[in-house]
Each structure stands twice: as structure tokens, then as C-alpha cells.
């Protein structure tokens, strides 16, 4: 796996095409803090959407709170639209166990009852522990469980992937 090469910028182009196909006139993007929020911000620009995108954090609903504790400034959730009755596309960088998505859905429902929620991700790395699937994923890969994969963004706004852990 040491030769794994993921071109985040190329994958973004595929994600953009996939998300475009999901969009209906009143669909709103919601990016999951932090990588997904960067993606949603850029998708918002590239798709020239009328309604401002939202940002959501799973921190207050995580199921590993008792073992990992509180992360400071946990709440980045900002949903600048009425969640009730809205059609939402959740955006994240990496889909893995599905636990973040479960927590995010709980967070979302604290603000109201959306009409529909779909999921779009840059990378689906398998390893699901919950019945959750992405409507759009720009890449499907397999990684050893010890490796951590996350999106990074440089000062110019270009995306790349961080891979941490043993190769």
C-alpha cells in the first residue's frame, strides 16, 4: 500500500460531476467539519448555488465520547437555512465506518426534519460498521485499518491527502 497515490484534485473533479447530478433546484450542500466543509465550500462556488451551504460537526453526537473525551470548540455546526423540509446533500472527504455519518445525521435532526438526505464523498475506503452508503464517491479504495486518511488543504486552496500510520 505504500505506493498508494490519491490525486485529490482529480478526484474533486469527479466529485463535482457526481454532486451536480444529485442536485435539484432546491438542494442544499452541507459539509462535514472539517474536510467535508472545505469540499462543500468549493462545490458551492463551482456549482454557483443560490442557497448558502451549511457546515455540520458530529462532535456532540459521537459514540466514542466516553473514551476520547471532549474536543475543544467542538461545535462548528452552522446551518444558514431552514432544515425542515429541505433536500440536503452531505459532503465528506472520507467515508469509513459510517459512525461519523450516523452522528452527523443525529446532529442534523436536532435542527429539524429534512425532506431527504444523500451523501457524497471524495473517497470511500470500505470498512463500514453501519448500514450507510454514499450516493456519490469519487474513489473506492481499501486501506489497512491502522492507516488514517484525511483531506488537507494548502494556502492556495488546493486539496491533497494526508495518510498517517504504518504503510
Amino acid at each position: 500500500m505504500s505506493t498508494l497515490h490519491l490525486d485529490a484534485e482529480a478526484l474533486y473533479t469527479d466529485l463535482l460531476a457526481g454532486v451536480r447530478s444529485l442536485m435539484k433546484p432546491d438542494t442544499v450542500l452541507v459539509g462535514i467539519w472539517s474536510g467535508g466543509a472545505w469540499l462543500a465550500e468549493r462545490l458551492q462556488r463551482d456549482l454557483k448555488l443560490a442557497v448558502e451551504h451549511g457546515v455540520i460537526s458530529s462532535a456532540l453526537h459521537r459514540d466514542d465520547f466516553s473514551s476520547r473525551g471532549m474536543t475543544a470548540a467542538a461545535d462548528h455546526t452552522k446551518l444558514p437555512f431552514d432544515v425542515d423540509g429541505s433536500h440536503i446533500v452531505l459532503v465528506d472527504d472520507v467515508l469509513y465506518t459510517g459512525r461519523t455519518i450516523r452522528a452527523t445525521l443525529n446532529e442534523l435532526f436536532d435542527f429539524g426534519r429534512p425532506a431527504s438526505v444523500a451523501l457524497a464523498v471524495l473517497v470511500d475506503r470500505g470498512g463500514r460498521e453501519l448500514p450507510i452508503h454514499a450516493a456519490v464517491s469519487a474513489a473506492r479504495i481499501t486501506l489497512p485499518s491502522e492507516q488514517r486518511l484525511s483531506l488537507a488543504r494548502d494556502a492556495t486552496g488546493r486539496f491533497s491527502f494526508d495518510i498517517k500510520g504504518p504503510n
Partner: protein, 320 residues
């Protein structure tokens, strides 16, 4: 006796109890304030509840009465989805002669996960923290004259909210400082957060001279004390803790140290006026000031819930 290691922190330096602001590093204070900021917005949600303490039991042990503090702790714990049990200890077991540690042992047998303790004896929450099971967390909700750390933290949250930067501020704490655990907690917190000038203002009988050792400037003249201040923290005159001739009369106190619009005019034009409540109108603060544009007394109450949520969720997430 306290162990050399701060009993509030685990071996990783994480907060497991909140007993006093004294000795807490700046990073821990900032973590609490940042986390409180994120909880403030929970009040704006359709569902004003997050599940961080779901399945946990929080016991409010008030050996000394305080409806307001107990209520804000109760609201904070409930917004975190905890089960809250309020025990009016003053009127139950303790009155029957049960010792503090026996009370704690009994409540622990009821599977308590957190104790919120108010006690008239300084140090009672420390004693409980040292004798409870490792998974149990203790929050000091005011012990004797010693400390009231969540009040101190909510005061810091309030100051940061209105003034942003602590390192340029002049803060005047006015009134009955000798009896005030709030004053002590505020002074420790302000010092840790880098406030360059802290003034303790009041008559000689209520402002002990040893307070200078905490790095504050003592002012027995109110005008000197509040001139140029960015923040004025008024303290309640604690009649119930006073004995002997500490004060000539409430009227005289108001004349010399009560915060009136005239005296407030000596502070910075954008100064904020704080008070831990309950306020005694016409004793330490004039109604025109308490209800005026500089007053942030009611926002303090709102911030207090978010700060208590932050403290409880942080300590509950850290293991001994």
C-alpha cells in the same frame, strides 16, 4: 492535605474534577471557554439537548442553599441529557448526623457518575474527590470562602465575550471581598489569563490586606478603584456571613462603595458591569446601573449554563 499533583488533573494533565481555578493551566481554562462557546448555540436549536451525558447520573449535593446555582447546574446537566438528582442534603442526611463521606458512599452505591457540591466548609469538594470511585467526577459549586470555580469561569467567558483580549484589561472587583469565594476564583482566573491590572476595591474590613499577595492592587477608595476600569465586578454584600462590626450600615456602604451612574462614569466609556447575583439593589448597586446599558448581569446567567455544560462534558470525557 493535597497531593503534590493537582488533584483536578489526571496524569495526562486533563481535567477530571473542577475544584478550584487555582493551579489550572491557561490551556485548560481556554479549553473550557472555547467549549462553552460551542454550547451556547445549543440553545438556538429546535432540540436543545445533546447526548454527551446520556445514561449518566449527576447528583446535585447542596449542603448550603443556592437556588440559582443549583438550577443552572440542573439545566446544564439536562441539556447534556444526564439524569439529574437534586438532594437537599442540608435538610436530610446531614441533619440526621451522617458524615460527609458516609453520604458520598451511599450515593456512590446508587451509581452516581458526578457530584456537584456546594458546601459551607472550604475544602469539602476536595475531600469528596479524594474518596470517591475513580470513574466519579466532582464539580465544586462553591465551598466556604474558598472557591466558586464555575462562577469564575462564567465571569471569564463574559469578559472574553465583550472584551476579547484579556491582556490589556483593568478589572475592578468591588465590595465584600473577604467573604467572597467568587472574588478569589476570579482573581486566580484573571491572573492565569494574563490580565495586567486587577483591583480589589472596598473598605478595610471587607478587603483583607493579604489579598495583595495574590497580585492585586488594593483600593479603599471607590473612585480610585474604578477609574479607567474596563470591567467592574460588583460583589454581593453577604450579610449572612457577617458577624461583628464589619460594616457601619448598608446605607453607608452604598454611599461609599455602591455602584451609581456617577461613579460608573469614572470607568472606561465601554466598561461592562458584572455581578454574580443575587443583586441587592440600593446596597451594592444602583438600579439605574443594574438595568443600564453597561450591565451584562443577565447575559452572565445565560453564559453560566453553557460554561457549566462545558465543565461537565469535559470532565466526564476524561478518565482518572
Amino acid at each position: 492535605m493535597l497531593s503534590r499533583r493537582n488533584p483536578q488533573l489526571n496524569s495526562h494533565g486533563e481535567l477530571i474534577h473542577l475544584l478550584s481555578i487555582e493551579g489550572l493551566p491557561q490551556a485548560v481554562l481556554n479549553q473550557i471557554l472555547d467549549t462553552a462557546g460551542s454550547f451556547l448555540s445549543v440553545n438556538d436549536r429546535e432540540v436543545k439537548k445533546v447526548p454527551l451525558l446520556r445514561g449518566k447520573s449527576v447528583f446535585n449535593l447542596f449542603f448550603e442553599n443556592s437556588t440559582r446555582t443549583r438550577t443552572t447546574f440542573e439545566i446544564a446537566a439536562k441539556r447534556l441529557s444526564a439524569d439529574v438528582i437534586n438532594l437537599d442534603i442540608a435538610r436530610s442526611s446531614a441533619a440526621k448526623g451522617e458524615s460527609l463521606l458516609d453520604t458520598i458512599a451511599n450515593l456512590s452505591a446508587m451509581h452516581a457518575d458526578m457530584f456537584v457540591v456546594r458546601h459551607s466548609e472550604s475544602g469539602a469538594p476536595y475531600l469528596i474527590a479524594q474518596h470517591c470511585a475513580p470513574h466519579v467526577h466532582v464539580v465544586n459549586a462553591g465551598d466556604g470562602r474558598h472557591a466558586h470555580p464555575t462562577q469564575g469561569l462564567l465571569d471569564m467567558y463574559t469578559i472574553r465575550h465583550y472584551k476579547q483580549d484579556f491582556t490589556k484589561l483593568t478589572v475592578a472587583i468591588v465590595g465584600d471581598i473577604v467573604h467572597s469565594r467568587v472574588a478569589r476564583s476570579d482573581i486566580h482566573a484573571l491572573t492565569t489569563l494574563g490580565v495586567p491590572e486587577i483591583r480589589a476595591v472596598g473598605p478595610k474590613t471587607l478587603v483583607p490586606s493579604d489579598i495583595r499577595e495574590m497580585g492585586v492592587r488594593v483600593c479603599h477608595d471607590m473612585k480610585e478603584g474604578i477609574s479607567g476600569a474596563d470591567v467592574i465586578i460588583m460583589l454581593r454584600l453577604q450579610n449572612e456571613r457577617m458577624s461583628g462590626a464589619m460594616l457601619p450600615s448598608a446605607g453607608e456602604f452604598f454611599k461609599n462603595y455602591g455602584l451609581t451612574p456617577d461613579k460608573l462614569a469614572l470607568a472606561k466609556p465601554d466598561a461592562i458591569v458584572m455581578h454574580p447575583g443575587p443583586i441587592n439593589r440600593g446596597v451594592e448597586i444602583d438600579s439605574a446601573v443594574a438595568d443600564g446599558t453597561h450591565s451584562v448581569i443577565l447575559p452572565q446567567v445565560t453564559f453560566g449554563i453553557a460554561v457549566r455544560m462545558a465543565v461537565m462534558s469535559i470532565i466526564a470525557g476524561n478518565n482518572a
